[in-house]
Amino acid sequence: MKSSRRMRGLALSELAFIMCLLGALALVGVLGWMSLAEERKTDRSKGRAVALLLWFDDLAADPAKVDLAQRDQCTPDEVANGSEKTWLACRNALLAEGGPLHGFVNPFESEYPVFGDKCERKNTATRGIIVVQESLKVPPGQPAAFAPMPPTRPLEKDLGFRVIVCDKGSFPIKVGESRL
């Protein structure tokens, strides 16, 4: 009787334990793999956001290093009545050929936008987006404040901004700050 309940030297209860253990480990592996895949997607957005910041740093330090088309669209005009170049034009230039974001699609879903105004927890379409926020003027001693950069915002000399990426749960991850 006892031998009938054994399989290759293992009792059925022992086999059941081993199967349960393997099942649990497989579940950990699958869930971990899914988390990892999503984290990698966030990483891709972060990588592009870092590239964007480095590009702006290059633009400020040595404009000759960047492509002419993008430089033209993202460098503010030094005119008294304000620049006519807008953030939308610069953004489109950044996504165009030769720009730091050329060929970049939202890693979570190619139909999702690349840029957005803010990370919204309930809006899954904001996952993986890059948010550029302009720096607001605050009284001395107050913490820095930022607001979403509207597409129609004219580019100004020394305009401070920060770049944020929305992660897999649409939570913001601060990438860094730069200045035009």
């Binding site: 009792a11 022992e14 253990l21 950990v28 592996g29 971990g32 966030t42």
Partner: protein, 546 residues
């Protein structure tokens, strides 16, 4: 520092200075049969260095960590190779003293061709190879992974020992022996299992702490996910092993009820909470904001309480003193509510925004009574200030009561447990001898009670005196020494040492005669070490002579 000094004294006292240098060095550093030498410490150090190398290898894969610390990694690599080379040379030099290799000719050659020595060589060879041959650095890094193989030097003997200890036992009993502290069947493998879990607890808690640092998380978010996945795999395996095998332990015998009983215990709940946030977050993060669950991963730290008796003692103390502590807490509560009400009464009109209601005033009362005094809410009326003076003075006394109660009860509990240990020692000495098994129990209990070797010796001495007072003579053997004296005392008096030696020899001869006179009662040779077997055969041979 004192511990190091103590261990030096022990090591030198058990390894005679009269031995030839090579023999002495072997006995001191590598002989696994000498209790108290540095063999275990050396093994532990090498194991830690191997783990360190593994982590260095993993961290080097992250450019954000490698680039700023390249020289540190380089030096760590050099230091590791130097240590591994010294270890290899030492083992090669001392192979002539190792019983495993010195039985035939060319012991060093025999050592060099042994699997462990090959692993040791493979672990360091790539480093030296790179110095003479132009090797691709990436290939060199990959070859460094071979150092991990050195861990088998520890694991294989431990596995063999575990298999020998558990021969003929069921699969579940083996799982139990591995997952639960078990002096009889666990062996070294069980110790390694515990160490492995402790290392993972520390790594995962460190990862949770470091994850909260924005810049670190930004760089290592993927690595943290992998680390958490591995930690959960380890802890899930451990949890399932415990649930499965707990029925082998006393008090949990029933297949279903025993497991449920265990699952409801504090430690099992801690084990469960250590893994459950991972599953919940992975499955439900689309539906709910479950980031707060990540903090629960810090509960893994509580898993360490399994490996220390301090928490158990503290819980016993709290249980024992609960009525007194409850009374003290009640007085505290009374005082807080009363003070908050008075504070509200005196200050509400003057500062309606700060003393808005009684619950707000409770915050001020607690902060003042506990002598914290943040200063964000302070009384301004004369009556309020006068009350605060009384309150602050009262607070010092009232809030100190539970702390003092706990502290005195804790030391009281330790005293009780030490007395219990002494009683246990006395009981063990009932047959006049403290066996090795009993010695192990004493050591384990002493470790739990954080007793130093001197304190254990003192307790043993006291138990010995009580035994003498009861039985009117010295026990036959205590802690390996005879005639009620310590080994140091005996060695200090040559006449007594000779007498002690004669007595021991006479006992062995008596045993030999007893064994000879009773057919079928031969000593089980497989349980003896080669040295013990050799001595037994020699004495038998001598006694057999006319």
């Amino acid at each position: 520092m004192s511990e190091t000094k103590e261990s030096v004294e022990i090591a030198t006292s058990i390894v005679s200075d009269q031995l030839p240098f090579r023999r002495w060095l072997y006995s001191w550093l590598l002989d696994p049969n000498i209790e108290g030498n540095y063999q275990k410490s050396l093994d532990r150090f090498i194991a830690l260095l191997i783990v360190g190398n593994l982590f260095a290898l993993l961290l080097e894969q992250v450019p954000g960590i490698l680039e700023p610390n390249r020289h540190l990694f380089h030096w760590f690599d050099i230091v590791s190779v130097v240590i591994f080379t010294i270890e290899y040379s030492l083992r090669l030099y001392l192979a002539a003293e190792d019983r495993e290799f010195n039985a035939g000719r060319f012991p060093r050659l025999r050592y060099m061709s042994s699997p462990f020595a090959v692993i040791d060589l493979v672990a360091i060879a790539p480093f030296y190879l790179a110095a003479v041959v132009n090797v691709d650095l990436r290939a060199l890094r990959a070859l460094r992974l071979l150092r991990i193989l050195k861990i088998f030097r520890l694991l294989i003997p431990a596995c063999k020992e575990f298999a020998a200890l558990n021969r003929g036992r069921s699969f579940r009993q083996k799982v139990h022996a591995l997952a639960w502290p078990n002096q009889q069947y666990g062996g070294k493998l069980q110790e390694y299992f515990d160490t492995f879990i402790v290392i993972w607890v520390l790594i995962s808690v460190l990862a949770v702490v470091m994850e909260s640092v924005e810049s670190v998380h930004f760089l290592l978010n993927v690595e943290f996910v992998v680390l958490d996945m591995l930690a959960v795999a380890v802890f899930t395996t451990e949890y399932m092993m415990r649930i499965y095998s707990v029925v082998e332990g006393p008090g949990y015998k029933h297949a279903v009820l025993g497991r449920i009983r265990f699952a409801k215990s504090g430690m099992a709940i801690v084990d469960f909470l250590a893994v459950v946030p991972f599953f919940l977050e992975a499955l439900l993060h689309h539906l709910f904001d479950l980031r707060f669950l990540r903090v629960f991963r810090l509960l893994r730290l509580l898993k360490l309480t399994r490996y220390t008796g301090a928490t158990g003692t503290l819980l016993t103390v709290i249980k024992r003193e609960w009525p007194v502590m409850g009374a003290s807490c009640f007085i505290m509560l009374l005082l807080v509510v009363l003070t908050a009400s008075l504070g509200y009464l005196f200050e509400h009109e003057a500062q309606p925004d700060k003393f808005e209601n009684i619950p707000t005033s409770i915050y001020w009362a607690v902060i003042t009574l506990a002598s914290v005094g943040y200063g964000d809410i302070a009384p301004v009326t004369p009556a309020g200030r006068a009350m605060t003076i009384v309150l602050a003075l009262l607070g010092i006394g009232i809030f100190a009561i539970p702390a003092a109660l706990l502290s005195s009860a804790f030391s009281d509990q330790l005293r009780i447990e030490r007395e219990a240990l002494q009683q246990e020692m006395l009981a063990m000495m009932g047959d006049g001898v403290i066996s090795e098994e009993e010695r192990r129990i004493i050591d384990a209990e002493a470790k739990r009670l954080h007793l130093s070797k001197e304190e254990v010796a003192r307790l043993l001495d006291r138990a010995k005196r009580e035994y003498e007072a009861k039985h009117g003579g010295a026990p036959a053997s205590v802690d390996g020494a005879g005639m009620g004296l310590s080994m140091a005392d005996i060695v200090g008096q040559p006449q007594m040492a000779a007498q002690y030696y004669r007595e021991m020899l006479a006992r062995i001869c008596q045993l030999r005669l007893a064994v000879q006179s009773k057919p079928g009662s031969e000593l089980p040779a497989d349980t003896l070490t080669p040295l013990e077997r050799d001595v037994w055969h020699r004495i038998s041979a001598e006694m057999g002579k006319p």
